[in-house]
Symmetry: D2
């Protein structure tokens, strides 16, 4: 039975991790941290956690006050910047650390200030971390103690795209990722922008093209596959709570076809319990097909002249795009069945 | 052509008044105020007002800086407390003032601190104001310069209830008003409570029974009809933007019946363009039936033993429950057709 | 390991039962029936069941073709009328049958045609069945093979109301239950009425007062507690998928108080893992607090003169109000821990 | 005062036309047709039209029974196939006909069966019709009696794209239009697919790439601008009622820049009351900015190397994307101010 700490337990990903660990047969919860709600019980902040015995046995404490708790693993749901500082001591102390923030995702220390507008708090530690979507990168784990667990947009784009790039099917020209996310992707915030009346019955684009901070890690992860393709990324906010859908427009190499793209995806994910490649008769995926699960569904279409594949990937931004993937990463690090505690 | 000022133009009711005045053939806009957005154009705060020529010809100013503008009428969408102070000088100066806040709704100066937790800023002015739902109280206007225009919950309850009380059909026992409101009723606020992820796919009750501050004005308005009935009021927040539905459980007097209740409502509202009493074959109303209009729809049902009527009233909380009713009140004060500028 | 059949697996409650049984350590699935989708795989109808290994090992068959399958228990999610005929043979054959339809809820054979407009298909079997909300009636199970598992509206009303009646705290006068339900309560239907554009951003009342078919079973279950109180019930449809909130207005007996009502609820549900009675400082419940769980949350308020209690109960209409309660009933019948497979 | 007929008045676009004509000072309504609801009043089908005096003075009749009514103009909201047959006699009789269906949008008679799967009912009439988005094509009207008024997807794509093509700014390579629509775009239908519980909290793609029937008219309208660009179009369904947002990825010609694209849009739409080109400081548009109005908002961004522009266009699918544009077209045909009756 592993002793687990959750840094930043009062955000939406912290809530999901609490619910997953409640069902996880090999996990007990050793601490839960919150700066704003220290001293409270987690279910008094989130009454829907009332049935979660493990977290409710504890009181929220400030992150600083959790540093001395003995743990086997830590999930950090803190914002970038704060996360690195809070979770590094645990990694140094030998615990497995799964960081859900962006702090350890970029290998090149110069990338961080470019995308996040400030210097990295601990650039010397970047080399100790690995970026890991288990289905694509689990061999990277290999004894590492510090894992950067990717979030919703990058997972929805990279899961299909890396598999297609590896198969050598991508041709010249820009790859376009048009992504649409539910509102929980923006986190738990008291802002006018995400208030019900400003968000409901409305859809908008933001940071279209080349501006979004997650482009850095996506470009890093596709850069290694032959000639670096140009990735254009446009996120959109959709009036729903959960779910992300990315539509990828991928120029195909000479000789490549939609059928070959699907075959490459099927080969890559054949034995993966959390990735389903849809057949032609399955049609196209909807975010509701993966809500409250750790699955991603991927569909492929192509133009009649096979010049371009249109690939659609859906996942639950809070699970496969955050908390679920983080636990999956920890399961892998801990030598457990990757599906443990997770809803397939 | 009347010159109109809007105090507090950047709340949701201010937006609706701006849109109504745009269509109003007898209104031009003389000033628009905002404390937080002074110096900006209203459509830069609300791009959906881009087509409103009248307000876009102006720059938002602080309320204080609008006091010297010459106007024929002022709508105050300021919060209670602030509203009284800002709009009284206009009334003193001879302008027609329609106050959408609670500041002039309670006649008894001792009622205000009871419901709003602080002394009234100008108790001596209460006697100058009248509380007016036009369909029930337009005779009160009678040359008055200061009108307290009731909001969404009271209008949805009083519109049917006063008509039924006037007809002498209410028996002994408590009257229950179970009300359900869309989220815009809470105003434009950057709070966690009204964020999309906390509000969507959820429904909750609040201040049930005897606690809500609007009970004061509702009790005041029904108190005059014979033996004071006991009013129990429970508001609920529904995951939709607009609309309010109140379900009233009204004990019937001996000899009263559901049919007589409907007849009394039909008599009261027969010539009212904004109130529709549904017939039995019309069925029950939905908030969507009155969305974006200034109408209220009312339906009546009763128990087989005619001991109780169940009355359902719907209206758009931002129009008949706020901005629309305010303009209707001003139309009446100004001697214009009450429907002018309003969507029937 | 019990062998379970699901009659009517392609409705929303069938889907939930499939997901619960997937996690249930003592259940395997022996058949899944559907008239319209016989021959298909359940996850081809509901791609979100793609991860449910147990149901996906099977093909949907017509109910008739499942009669010969050997099972230990059957859940019937068929509509009333059809359900009695399909599930009785299993009960006769010795299987535990949990009927989620209304077919075995009314003890008096004359009640059924009154509320459902047609004769009961098997009136002679009514005496074999018991109506069971486990927290209130589990002693009734006592070896029975046929359980009528109550649905969402009655569970949300009876759970608090029976506890309060048992404690002798209810006074004279009508009890009012004003209930608000998410749209999934209406089932999976291709109708204009429940289409997104007719339902979203709208709220309506229906069958208010004395007309709704679930009044029959609610009146039956409260009739035994002293002088039969009059129950008035008004359901409303709320634009959300899941969740039900019932607001009860309960006249109090002389000497009864809100505090005594809360104490009676706490006494009744103290050791119940699925019912939480909120303290005063917990505030009022929201449907999101119980979404995707088998819990009900109950709060109590009362008028200053203690003449009436206002009780609010929330639950997930598809779980504690349908599939979750059905599995809870089966767990109890099978001598298993009642929480097995269920999300607390 | 023109006498207007509405064919197919009980769909969502018919409802919007009824509301626009109610406010239109030069229109009276001469007939309203419906096959399914003939004999009824329109507000008994849509209670929210209760305040529309013009349509409520009439009874719905079957389209066939309206042929003899003398009218100056007809709006056809009938489905494709049925529309051509019903509205041609009016055009022959001299009335102005605005067809909102696809029947007269494709000039080449061979295009129709390709996209609609059946022969055109009156191919010989295609030459009499013009395809008209007023801001782009009003010179085509020029005395014509039969106008094909484009729908939501094509208007949101063509409005910006034709303006950019005309300016010669588009380079080689595919143009991608990734469009997201609210559910009312699918019409008023009793299907499981568009039921609340299947649609809410879900987002899906459909007919991605090259399959959607509206590609025919979009390709037709861009084909004339130099070397025919390849248009890839992927529609998505978003859980909201109204609104459409199209994100266009446009390869730029050598020397073209985002700034030049914005300048070309500003030049084209400078005097258009219904099209707003956003400045850089305006940010990106949201569908709520244009809901319930006849406006379209367009924003431009470009990649740092100016190889591609990302253009975002939003409009209300039922107004600028259907009923509003149809009335705008009729206003232009009738020599009236194009904005008459419409909300700017």
């Amino acid at each position: 039975m592993a002793r687990i700490g959750i840094l930043g337990a009062t955000g939406y990903t912290g809530v999901e991790i609490s619910m997953i660990l409640e069902r996880h047969p090999e996990a007990e919860v050793a601490f839960i941290s919150s700066e704003a709600s220290a001293g409270l019980n987690l279910s008094s902040v989130f009454p829907r956690l009332s049935g979660c015995r493990k977290v409710n046995a504890l009181t929220l404490r400030k992150a600083q006050d959790c540093q001395s708790v003995s743990v086997d693993a830590v999930f950090s749901c803190l914002p970038h910047g704060a996360s690195a500082e809070a979770c590094l001591p645990f990694a140094v102390g030998g615990a497995a650390v799964v960081d859900l923030s962006a702090d350890f995702r970029l290998r090149d220390p110069e990338d961080y200030p470019r995308w996040y507008g400030k210097p990295h708090p601990r650039p010397q530690s970047l080399a100790d971390a690995v970026y890991c979507i288990p289905e694509l990168h689990r061999s990277r784990l290999n004894g590492r103690k510090l894992v950067a667990s990717p979030g919703c947009y990058p997972t929805s784009v990279l899961l299909p795209l890396v598999a297609i790039l590896r198969a050598g099917l991508v041709g010249a020209g820009p790859i376009i990722a048009d992504s649409k996310s539910g509102v929980s992707g923006a986190g738990r915030k008291a802002t006018l922008e995400y208030s019900f009346c400003e968000t409901n019955e409305s859809l908008h684009a933001y940071k279209v093209g080349h501006n979004h901070q997650h482009l850095g890690e996506m470009r890093q992860e596709i850069a290694q596959w032959g000639a670096a393709p140009q990735l254009v990324f446009s996120p959109h906010l959709v009036p729903m709570q959960r779910g992300i859908l990315s539509t990828l427009y991928v120029p195909l190499a000479v000789g490549a076809t939609g059928a070959k793209v699907r075959a490459a995806l099927e080969d890559t994910f054949r034995n993966e319990p959390f990735v389903k490649v849809l057949s032609e008769k399955d049609g196209l995926p909807a975010t509701a097909h993966v809500a409250h699960s750790n699955r991603a569904h991927i569909a492929v279409s192509s133009l009649p002249d096979e010049s371009m594949a249109v690939v659609v990937c859906v996942l639950d931004n809070l699970l496969k795009g955050a908390a679920g993937q983080a636990v999956q990463n920890w399961n892998a690090m801990a030598g457990l069945d990757e599906t443990m505690g997770l809803t397939p």
